[in-house]
Each structure stands twice: as structure tokens, then as C-alpha cells.
């Protein structure tokens, strides 16, 4: 990788002051666990002159429970520490299941929650130096006519990447918010708003994070009474792999009816894919096989598979059915 200067800021304010003001200015990158950034730098996908090392900033690591039962996760909290936290596992099973499903023990020791949400796509055209793809400022998404078995079946165009994060679907399903800090101050977005489709924003990016902004904290609202959650991930190999499809489901029941649910799909769209219409259709219906079948059918009704990824439709439907069955039957 190319050599660079490293800044070791003592505060978030100092860190954001070092960042460029416009997204087209590519000179600086934020470093947290480095498990994504270093792979990008080693492949010369990014070649920053300045690396702003967030590890020197105190208080961004670790979780805090608020008195209302909500959970604040510092952006530098490692995936390994989430995975091993029994109180988080009790309140938000989907979050711990998602964290434990990621990569390998070594990567989870170093990788951070903030970095996981801000990681870049794994599409092989994007990751290969040889392809000047749309995501790297080129004119074409090679996956559309090319080798696309890992690409999007929902929300694609003009780029057909899938968002690779496992935490993101789980956290969107749990209704998480993110705190973003820039020289202009602090703003809070829902994690759902934080991610942006290639057709809705800058195709070079996956999020609304500004050039001079840092994601500092994630807040997960207190679980509602009787809330249950699950994260299911299907991988090509059992260990150390990204999802082919994933499902995050959070729900509450009311007697033998489904009171409400939040259903978010992973690895099938350029963003964590929230199935809002399906959620509305399911609310209030009696639990049982009919509800499970409707959920699986409706959530994928708009899928538009590419030439090689049609398998993701029944795969995702199967995961949705499994998730509902696990939580309600």
C-alpha cells in the first residue's frame, strides 16, 4: 500500500477538523479497526495521503445502558466484545447473532461496529483493480451483464452491489439510530436513513455520511415488552464468509396474533432492505403457516434477479419463513 501520514487526534472535534470538506477530495480516510480499510489500501482502491486514526480518541469504545433500557454503542466497540456480551444477548438476540456470524475470530477482535456499518462493497468488480466500475467512478456496473451471482435482486441500479454488513440489517430491524459529528455539530439519523440506494444518491457511496463527518455512536432503543428478535444468515461456507442472504426480524405478538414486526433483508440489495409494505400487511394477522407464507411471498414480490442470482429469491424466502417460525411457532 502507499505510504501516508497518520494523525492521532485526541477528540472527535479534532478528527473532523482534519477531514476534507468535499466528497470529491479523496486525500484522507478514517481508520478504526482497519479490517476493511487496510484491504482497500492494499489493493490500491483507496490511496489516502492522510489516515486519521480514531483509536486515539477516548470514550468511543464500549457500550452504555441508559436508564430507559436503550443501549448506546460506541463506534469503536469491537464485534468480539458485542458477541460476548450476555446482557446484549438477552435484550437484542439478533444483534449478537449478527455480530457472531461475521468473518473470523481474528477479524472480530479488531473490527469495530462503526467500521462494520461503513464498510465498502465486496462485489468482485469493485474489489478488482482491473475493473473501472461505476462504484470507482467508471461508467459501467459490470455485474449487470457479468458474473452477478452475489449481486442485488432488490433495489439495484445503476449499481447492483449488495451491502455486506451483517450488523446493519439487525440494527435497522431493532430501530437503531446513529450519531454523526462534523464541524457543523451533531446530527442523528435512523440507521435506515443513513444508508442510501445508488439510484437515490451518490453512486460512489453507500451512506449519507458527509466528507467531514464521523459516525460516533449507535443507539438501540429499549426493547418493547415481549419483543423477540433473530438474525439468520446463509453463507456459502459455514465459516468466515459473507452472506448470500440474511434476514433480521424483530416482532411482538398479541395473544395468537402478530402485533407488529420489522423485517430487514441483508445481502440482497445495495442497502439493508426493509420490507415496510410486508410489515404492514402482516400486522394484526393470526400467527401460523399462512402468515409465514405471506411474509415470504410478499417480501420478495418485487425481486428482479440478474442472470445468475435467481437462487437468492427462494433462499431469502426460506430464511424469512425460518425466522418467523423460530420466533412464533
Amino acid at each position: 500500500m502507499k505510504n501516508f501520514e497518520m494523525a492521532l487526534p485526541n477528540s472527535v472535534d479534532e478528527a473532523v477538523g482534519l477531514l476534507p470538506k468535499t466528497l470529491s477530495d479523496d486525500r484522507a480516510r478514517l481508520l478504526a479497526g482497519g479490517q476493511d480499510l487496510l484491504t482497500e489500501m492494499k489493493e490500491y482502491l483507496v490511496e489516502p495521503d492522510l489516515v486519521v486514526n480514531l483509536k486515539s480518541i477516548p470514550d468511543l469504545d464500549g457500550v452504555v445502558w441508559a436508564s430507559d433500557g436503550s443501549l448506546e454503542i460506541g463506534a469503536l466497540t469491537t464485534l468480539a466484545s458485542l458477541e460476548k456480551d450476555a446482557s446484549i444477548a438477552a435484550a437484542f438476540p439478533a444483534l449478537v447473532q449478527a455480530a457472531a456470524s461475521i468473518a473470523s475470530p481474528q477479524i472480530r477482535s479488531a473490527a469495530t461496529v462503526g467500521g462494520n456499518l461503513n464498510q465498502r462493497p465486496r462485489c468482485w468488480y469493485y474489489r478488482s483493480e482491473d475493473y473501472p466500475c461505476l462504484k470507482k467512478g467508471g461508467t459501467e456496473c459490470f455485474s449487470y451483464y457479468g458474473k452477478n451471482r452475489y449481486n442485488a435482486i432488490l433495489g439495484g441500479g445503476p449499481s447492483y452491489i449488495v451491502h455486506p454488513s451483517d450488523l446493519a440489517p439487525a440494527l435497522v430491524a431493532l430501530g437503531a439510530e446513529v450519531q454523526l459529528i462534523s464541524p457543523r455539530g451533531e446530527r442523528v439519523l435512523t440507521l435506515e436513513e443513513f444508508f442510501v440506494l445508488p439510484s437515490e444518491g451518490d453512486v460512489l457511496r453507500e451512506t449519507r455520511l458527509a466528507a467531514d463527518e464521523v459516525l460516533t455512536r449507535i443507539r438501540v432503543p429499549a426493547p418493547a415488552a415481549g419483543q423477540r428478535s433473530i438474525y439468520l444468515k446463509f453463507k456459502e461456507r459455514d465459516a468466515y464468509d459473507f452472506a448470500l442472504a440474511a434476514v433480521a426480524l424483530v416482532l411482538q405478538t398479541d395473544g395468537d396474533k402478530l402485533a407488529s414486526c420489522r423485517l430487514v433483508l441483508g445481502a440482497v440489495a445495495p442497502v439493508p432492505w426493509r420490507c415496510t409494505r410486508t410489515e404492514r400487511k402482516l400486522a394484526g394477522r393470526p400467527l401460523g403457516e399462512e402468515l409465514v407464507a405471506l411474509a415470504a411471498q410478499d417480501a420478495l414480490a418485487d425481486a428482479e434477479p440478474l442472470s445468475e442470482n435467481g437462487y437468492k429469491v427462494p433462499l431469502t424466502q426460506g430464511l424469512i419463513a425460518e425466522a418467523f417460525e423460530a420466533l412464533t411457532i
Binding site: K2, Q106, I107
Partner: protein, 200 residues
Amino acid sequence: MRVLQLQVNGDTLETAAPVHWTLLEVLRYRLGLVGSKQGCDKGDCGACTVLLDGKPVLSCLTLAANAVGHEVTTIEGLAPKPETTSEPALDPIQRAFDDCGALQCGFCQPGMMLSARALLNTNAHPTRKEIQQALSGNLCRCTGYTQIVQAVETAVARVSGKTEPDCAWVAELARDRAQIDSAPNEASPSSTTPGPGAPS
């Protein structure tokens, strides 16, 4: 260049390296600790695994600057320091890997053993599934993993003083080795009973 003060295997070492160098590069090309292997060098293979404050990390995806202030353990520091110079000390994991033949080319072995040590530091009695998960970030192209998992199980059993698991064959191996050791020098190893895993 940047001056780095690193805590490695109980020693404080000072060196200078370019800012963009990884911990792996500093270990191998500044400190001469070449036990940590440079395999894929991009986080896929686990051959560069070291312990940072007892936790397994990929030294190829860790900037050396981020190891400052943390205790680094490499394969060179896995064995306890011998109390006398004549006594070669081994970590129980090292002894079990040796006894169980848990390697062929050996390239993955430092990373495997450090991942195993990280597991046993937090879980003294792991199940086979837990061992497999703990080693899932370490690729081996020779052994098929079976003997590696058996080696970790053997180390666990020995440390806890229990009967060694599925280790009738380890005893057999020890017998074979004793035979080889006691045989006259001209005896060919091929004349001894084949060990477990040998084609029958």
C-alpha cells in the same frame, strides 16, 4: 518513518518503520520474528495471527502503530520461558500439535496454535464445535484440519488431567515413536508400524 516502542513476547523493543507498515511487516522485517507468516497478506488466511493483549488478531491487517501500548505475543513467545537454559519448554498446545501430527508443511501452524491459545485462555474446556469456530479464520491446505482439532482436544484433556479424547491413536503414535527412538540408527522408519492416518 516513525519510532515504535512495542511490547513483544515480554520484551520492550524499539524500532523505526514507515508509517504504513503493518505489525506483520515490523515483526518480520525489523524485529526478525519470522514465525508469523505472510500468507495472503490481506486477511484471508490467518497465517499471520498474533495475540494482542491475549486476543487473536491478523498482524497483516493491523498497522504497527496500533500495536503500540498493547502486549504482542507471537509464536516465538508462545512457549513459557525455560527456567533453565537446558530445558526446552513448550506450551501444551505445541506439544499436542507435535504429538498429533497436526501439520504437514507447517505454514499455517503458528497462526493455528495462537488461535488455539486465545481460545483456551478464555475457555479452558471448549467443545469440538467451539474449537472449530475458534480456528475458522486459519486456513490449512495440508491436513484437512482433523488432526489440528484433535491436537487442541488433546491439549485440553492433558491440561485438565482427563483421559485424552479419541486418543488411543496418540498413544499408538507415542509407542511408534519410542520404537523409532530405540531402534538402531540404520533401521528404516518405513519398517515400523504405520501411524494413524496412514493408508491401510
